[in-house]
């Protein structure tokens, strides 16, 4: 039987420093067929040339700088795979990431999305910080409800909708919350299949102060939607009784 195509989407903004490693970790996947789509979020460094050096193996899209959520959505629109996966330009995949996750979709045809554990790792320049956090939770594998661990059917994105481009940091969490509300069938693998590089310029560090407010608003919206649903459900039940 023909194996389904997986579209691998990488949003990147000035990512030339680590992008080669990321792309190579996709090309090293034991699973085929794949298509690789890099969405350049208005980089001003050598990202374009770097991607060009991969020739036909990597598709290159460009957009004016508008954030990773918009870039991921553009990647989704261009994707032709039955499945989609995401990698951030500074992160890495385990060589068997796609294969092990696809095996779950084979075993469970009802599955909508599969995530795995993520291991943080520090760049050599942050060795001191790494030492500081040696026995801390962030140094251990964590459940990866984040895009770099996600493999999902593309049809799930049609049902749940794209990433919320109004959010600067919480777009990934907000999407997972919406997927859960939608009732997406989800599996979390115990395996570490993605590695997240911690460096000085991590977006989550730069945007941390805004993101607290953003999270509170995301949670409020989730609760509002849930209550509205319950209300609609209750009034539906009422009308059934009439």
């Amino acid at each position: 039987m023909k194996k389904p195509l997986i579209s691998c989407i990488i949003p990147v903004f000035n990512g030339e420093r680590y992008l080669t490693e990321g792309l190579d970790s996709i090309l090293a996947q034991t699973y085929r067929p794949i298509e690789i789509i890099v969405v350049d979020d208005g980089s001003t460094d050598g990202t374009r040339e770097l991607v060009a050096s991969y020739g036909d193996q990597v598709r290159y899209l460009w957009q004016p700088n508008s954030g990773p959520a918009t870039a991921r959505n553009q990647g989704l629109s261009a994707a032709s795979g039955e499945f989609v996966a995401f990698l951030d330009a500074d992160d890495l995949w385990h060589p068997e990431k796609l294969e092990r996750q696809m095996a779950r979709f084979d075993a469970r045809p009802e599955l909508d999305l599969c995530v795995a554990h993520v291991q943080n790792f520090w760049i050599p320049e942050l060795h001191e910080e790494e030492e500081q956090f040696r026995n801390h939770r962030v140094a251990r594998p964590l459940p990866g409800y984040v895009t770099e661990s996600l493999l999902a059917t593309r049809s799930l994105f049609k049902a749940v909708g794209p990433f919320n481009t109004a959010l600067g940091h919480g777009d990934s969490t907000e999407w997972f919350l919406r997927a859960a509300e939608h009732g997406a069938v989800t599996e979390l693998l115990p395996d570490v299949l993605s590695y997240r590089r911690l460096h000085q310029a991590n977006r989550s560090r730069l945007l941390a102060s805004n993101s607290r407010d953003e999270f509170v608003k995301i949670v409020k919206a989730v609760l509002d939607r849930r209550r509205l649903q319950n209300k609609t459900k209750l009034s539906d039940d009422d009308s059934e009784q009439e």
Partner: protein, 150 residues
Amino acid sequence: MQALHHRLRPRGEEVAAKVIDGEAIIINLANGIYYSMDKVGGLIWDLVQVGYSLEEIIVAVTERYDVSRERVQADVQELVEELLRENLVSVLENGASVEKRQLEQQEKHLYEVPKLNIYRDMGDLLALDPPTPGLGDTPWKDPEDETPKK
């Protein structure tokens, strides 16, 4: 039971909170548990954030709602114990007084017991990517975690 001149302070590093449309949304970033309180509860959290003492909160609630002071005092004390149990606030025994808000409403609203709604379905979702102010201040704590030294 807390003395009435005590003030509460939201645990800044680990707790993100805001009152939106009269509803307090509170997230414990350390474990992903989130909370909501509307109506009287939303007002109380708002006043906690502003820095009101328990006494001042009780007075403000009694002014706005059709309810006896005794009832409010008992409910506020109970709510405070719950906020402390959930690790959302700490107690300031000798906080400074803050400017009071003027009451504009004419009629008193119908009182409802303030209720802290607790949601525990988001723990895993926030595990990897909690919105924290830099790793050095990271509040992700497990009982077995060693506190990072700065």
